[in-house]
Symmetry: C2
Subunit: 724 residues, 2 copies
Amino acid sequence: MKLCRFFLIFLCFYNLETNGQQLNDYKLWLKYEQITDSKLSASYKDISSKIVVGESTPSLLNAKEELALALPQMLGTDIEFLSAIDKGNALIVDVYQNLPVDLKSAVSKEMMDVKGDGFVLKSVKLTNKKVTVITAKTDLGVLYGTFRFLHLMQSQHLLDDLKVVDNPKLDIRMLNHWDNLDRSVERGYAGFSLWNWQKLPEYVDQRYIDYARANASVGINATALTNVNANALILTPMYLEKVKALADIFRSYGIKVYLTARFSAPMEIGGLETADPLNAQVQQWWKDKVKEIYAIVPDFGGFLVKANSEGQPGPQNYGRNHVDGANMMAEAVKPFGGNVIWRAFVYSEHDDTDRAKQAYDEFLPYDGNFMDNVLVQVKNGPIDFQPREPFHPMFGAMKKTPLIMEFQITQEYLGFSTHLVYLPKLFEEVLDADTFQKGEGSTVAKVIDGSLYGNKLTGMAGVSNIGTDINWTGHPFAQANWYGFGRLAWDPYLSANTIAEEWLRATYSNEEEFVDPIKEMMLDSREAIVNYMNPLGLHHIFDTGHHYGPGPWVDNLGRPDWNPVYYHKADSLGVGFDRTPSGSNATEQYASEIAVQYNDPKTIPQEYLLWFHHLPWDYKLENGEILWDAIALKYQEGVDQVTQMIKTWDRMKPYLSENEYKEVSMLLEIQLKEAKWWRDACLLYFQTFSNRPLPTGVERPTKSLEYFKSLKFPFAPGIRPRWD
Amino acid sequence: MKLCRFFLIFLCFYNLETNGQQLNDYKLWLKYEQITDSKLSASYKDISSKIVVGESTPSLLNAKEELALALPQMLGTDIEFLSAIDKGNALIVDVYQNLPVDLKSAVSKEMMDVKGDGFVLKSVKLTNKKVTVITAKTDLGVLYGTFRFLHLMQSQHLLDDLKVVDNPKLDIRMLNHWDNLDRSVERGYAGFSLWNWQKLPEYVDQRYIDYARANASVGINATALTNVNANALILTPMYLEKVKALADIFRSYGIKVYLTARFSAPMEIGGLETADPLNAQVQQWWKDKVKEIYAIVPDFGGFLVKANSEGQPGPQNYGRNHVDGANMMAEAVKPFGGNVIWRAFVYSEHDDTDRAKQAYDEFLPYDGNFMDNVLVQVKNGPIDFQPREPFHPMFGAMKKTPLIMEFQITQEYLGFSTHLVYLPKLFEEVLDADTFQKGEGSTVAKVIDGSLYGNKLTGMAGVSNIGTDINWTGHPFAQANWYGFGRLAWDPYLSANTIAEEWLRATYSNEEEFVDPIKEMMLDSREAIVNYMNPLGLHHIFDTGHHYGPGPWVDNLGRPDWNPVYYHKADSLGVGFDRTPSGSNATEQYASEIAVQYNDPKTIPQEYLLWFHHLPWDYKLENGEILWDAIALKYQEGVDQVTQMIKTWDRMKPYLSENEYKEVSMLLEIQLKEAKWWRDACLLYFQTFSNRPLPTGVERPTKSLEYFKSLKFPFAPGIRPRWD
C-alpha cells in the first residue's frame, strides 16, 4: 500500500472559538467564569452550595436566579435551594424582617447602618455551622447584596469572614438614553437603540432583561428611555403601551422608567394651540397625560426635559421661564411621587456672553423657586463633555436646588467607541474638585450627594453608551465606563483605581500580572486622549456636527458658538480663551479661592491654561518651554501614550484568548491612527498662526493641512436625528 | 437551636440559560450540537477523529477550522489532524489533484460528474481501514463538501457508505443587501446593517467571518453590499478601502463582492457634467474607476444597477436606453472578468400602461443587444414581491439574455420579521412554474439555470434579511429563509419540503416528533399569510411607504401606481384588476397556453383570480361560494391557520428550551394579532363596496374601519433612506 509510506505527524488539538469572543463579551462583567483555584473554590462551595432565598417577591426571585446562573458556573457544581437552613452551612438571602430570629440578632448591629436599598453581607457562626447572610431592609437591597456577593467571588475575595455594609449615597442613579424612535441613537457609537419599538410590547427581547441585570448589578435604578431632543409621540397611547412593557421588565430589578417630555407635546399630540405653561388647558393636559401614564406604569419616574436649548421648545417660547415650565410638570407628577429633571444645558445664539457663562447666569436667579420634586441636571463642565473641562460653576453656587450631575458615558468627544478611554478617571476628577463654596472641602461630590447643603433629592445621570452591538458598548473597554458610572452613582467617593480593578477582575482575569499593568493603562488613558486631542485647556476644536476628528479651522457654522474658532481664538499673537476679568470674566462664577488662582496664568493648573487664558505663542511655562512647543509636545505625548498602550496590550497575550487579544488590538490601531491625525491636523493648523517650527521630538506630519481640511464624513455615526 | 426546627426541603437544581438562547440563535444552522445517540456518535468518531486536510490554501484552512470547531462539539471528543493517512481510518479533505494516487482512482468516476465548485463525498474501503474522502476540483468545492459533510452529521445521516456528488446549478448565487451607508437598511427588519463602515477597514468584526461561513455553508458565492438605491460615495477611495477589507475576509469563503453603482456617480464624485453613457469622458471615468477597484479587489464581482427606476438616475436621463447604460459599464468591467447585473424593475409614472406590463414592454425589444457579461435581474413577479404573484412574464420570453432571478428574502410584504413565513415555498412555486415558452415543461427554473436557451451566465439573487440582531434575521424562523434561498440558488430543483427538514434538523432538533409537525407548519405558513393578507389574487393593498399593515383605502399618493386602489379596483360592481384582453391585456405577455387559461375566470387557478379579473361581488366560484363570501372566508382561514400554528408550537414545548419556546411564541402572538388586523381592516373596507354581510364562520370585527384608517406608523422600520 502506498499509503503506508506516509508518516503520521501529530499537528494539534484545536480548541477554536470561532464566534465565541463576541458572545462572551455580551456577558459584560457578569461572566461568572469557573474558579480554577481549587482551595478558593472549595471554600466558596463550603459557604454557598446550600442556599435559602426568601421567595416572596420578584426582586428576590431575581436574586435566586442570579445565584442559580452564577454559582454552578463559577464552582463547577450544582447548588441546592432549600426552604430553610438545615444542619450544614448555608447562604441565606432574604430581607431582614423575614430572617430567622437568631440571624436577625446576629446582623442587627450592621442593619442599624443600612439606609434605603443598602445591604449587609455577613458571615455568622452558629453551632456547628457557618451561615452567610445577604440581607437588607428592602428586597431590592437584597438583590444588590447578591450581586455584590457574586462580584466578590468573581474577583476572588476570601468570603469566610464577611462583614460588608454598603449603602447607595445618591437617590437617582440614572442612565439617559439619547435614543430616537427610529432606533438611531444621537451620539451613539455602539450600534442602534436597544428598544425595538416595532416588536414591543409583545416581544420581550432577552436583552432587556440582561440590560436590567447589568444595571442592577452596579445599582443603577433609573433609565430615561428616549432622547432629550424629544419626540412627542412617545407620550401617545401606542408608545406608552410599549414603555409599560419595558417598565414591567425593569421593575423587579429596581429600575424606574423616565421619559423625555417634549415641551410642545400639548400642541403636537394634544391638539392645543399653545404649550404655555401658565395656560390652564396646557396644565390640565399634562395632568391628564401624567394620570394616563401612572395608570399603566405605577412606578413611573417622571420627566427629563431639555427646554429652550439648541432649538428645543420651552417656556421661553411663551415669555415664561424655566421655573414656570418645570413647576408646571412637577405639579402634574407630584401626586404620584414623580420627579422632573430639568436640564441646565442652555446657551443662546442671541446672547453674546461667553457660552461657558450662560447656564449659570440663566439658572442662578431661580435658586429656591423650583418645587421640591424638581432636580436641575447640570453637565460636569460649562461647555459640553470635552475631554477635560473645569467643573461647572453651578456646582456649589446653586444651593437650594438639588443638582443632578450629568456625565456623558458615550464618547462623543472622546474617540467614539474606537478609543480606549477609561472615563471614571474623568468623573473622579470632577467629583473630587473643590468648589470652595462653603469653605475648603466643598467638593462637587458633596454637592451631588446633598451633604453640603442638605438637599433632600440627589442623583447622577450618565448619557448611555449602550447599543445593539453584541458587546453592548462597541469597545470592550467601554463596558468599564458603563460599569464605572454605575459604581460612582452608587458611591461618588469611590476611586477610579478601585473601580478599574473591580471591572478587570470580573471581566478579564484575576491574574495580578494582567490586572496591574492594564489597570495602569486604563488610568492613564484619559490623560492620553486629552493630550492628543485637547491639551493644555484647548476645547471644542472638533469637526462639525458629527464631532469626529479635528476641525479647529471650522468657522462657517450658523452660530458663532458652534465654531471651533470661537473656542481656541488662535491668532498671530497667541491662542486660548481669555475668561479672566480682562476677558469674559467667567472666573467670577467660581468661588474667589478659585477665581484668584485661575485668573493668574502662573498659578492656574496647567491643564486649564488655555481654557481661561489667551497667551502668546512664546509664553514661557514653568518648565521653561514656550507655549507653542508645549502644545506640540503634548500632542506628541498623547500619541506616544497610545503607542505605549499597544505595547502593554501586546505583552498581555498570554492572559487573553486570541480573539480577546485581537479585538482590542485592532481598536488600538485605529486609536493610534486617529491620535496622529489629531496631532498632525491641529499642529499644522495652529502653526499657520504661530509661524514656529515643531520642536525636537515631535514627528513631522506626512499629510498637508489641506488634506486634513478636505476630509468629509457625512455618515459618521451618532448625528442628530434628521426628523428633528 | 431554633434553626433546627426548619425542615430541609429540596427544591431544584437550576440550569438557567439567562442569556443563552439569543447567543445560541447567533449560531444559525451551524450549531454543531452534541450527538447524544451513542451508536451514531461512535460511528462518526470511527470515520472522523483522524483527519488529513490539504493545507495549501485559505479555503482549505477554513475547511479545517470548521471541522476543528464542529467535530469536538458534536462528538464530545478531541480530534487529530494528521499530515497524511496512517494505519487507521481517516477523513481526507483535499482537492482531487492533491489526493494520494489510490484515493484518486477510488473517486475518479464520481469526479467525472463534478462541475465548477461541485464536490464528492465518498467512503472508500482500503485494506484494514476506511477512508472518507471530501474532494473537489477546487478548494472552494472542498469547503462546500466539508460543510455538507458536517450537515449530514448534524442531521444524523449514516455516513458509513457515503457517495454524494453535488454541483451548483447556477453560477452567481448572490445576496443583495439594501444597506445604506448610515447603516439603515431599506426593507430591513432585523436591526441595522452588518457593515460597520465607521470601524472598517481596521476593525474586522467577527460577524463578517460568521456571515461568510454561513453563506459558504449553503453555497452563496456573491454579495452586493449596498442598496440598489445607491449612494455614489461607496465608489470613493475612502469607502473602497473598507470594501476591500470585507472582500479580503470573504474571499477564502468563495464570496465575491459586488457594489451598486449609482448611474450619476461620474457627476457626483467624478466632477463631470454629465453621466451620459455615450459620452467619452463618462466611459473613461467608469473605466478608470473599475481599474481602481480591481487594483485593490482583484476578484471584484461587478456592478448591480437600478437605473431609471423609482427616481434613480439612468441612461434615459440622457435620451439613451438600458442597453447603452449596461453595456457601457460592462465594457469597463469586461477586461477584469466582471459582470453587470442590470435590474428590470422599472415602471414609469408617465406611462399609463398597467404597471405589471411595463418591464416586459421596456426590456423585450433589447433582447440580444446586451454584452455577454450583462445579466438582467428580474423580480419573481411583475409587481413587487407580493405574498403571491404569477411568475414574471419576462421569464421564458427574453431568450437571448441571461436573466438572474431576484427573490426577496426580507419580508417587506410578508409580515416583516414578526411573521413566521417559510419563503422557500414561495420560491419553489415560482421556479416550478411552467412558462410554456418552449413548449410544456419550460419552467422558470430551466430559464434560470440556462438549460432552456443555453445561456452561459446564470444566477439567483435574494434581497437579504440579515441585520445586526443577535439572531441575524429578527425571527428565528427567518433564518430558514436565508438558508433556503441559498440552497435553491445552489439547486433550484430542490423541494421546499427537503430544505425545511434540513434546516430544522440542523437548527432545532432531530426528533421526528418535532421535525414532522413543525415542517408541516412551515410549509403551510406561506398560504396562511396569502390568506390573511392578499387572498384570491388581491395584491399591493399595503399601507403606504413602510408597507406595514393593511391600507386598501389609500388613494392619495403622488403616483397612481403607488396607490392600493389602483391594484384592487373595488367598486360597487366588484373587485379585481382586469388584465385580460377586455382590460390591460397583460395576459398577452405570457405564452398562449397560459393566456388562454388565465383569460377565463373559470379556468384560471383560483389563487390568481383577482390578479387578472374584475368580478362581481356575487360572482359564483366553482365551489358554489359567491366571491364576497369566498374573500371573507379566506381571510378567516388565514387567521385560523395562525391559531393552528400557535397550537402546534405549544405542543412542541417538550422539545424546546424555555427560551426557544418563548421567543417564537411571543412572535406568533404578534402574527395572530396582525392577521386579525388584516382580516378586519380589509373586510370592513371592501364591505363598503360589496354591501353584503360577513358569511357565517367569519369573526366580527371589534374595531371600526375609521379606527384602522387612523393608525399611523411613522417609525415603522425599513423605510427608504432619507438622504435619497
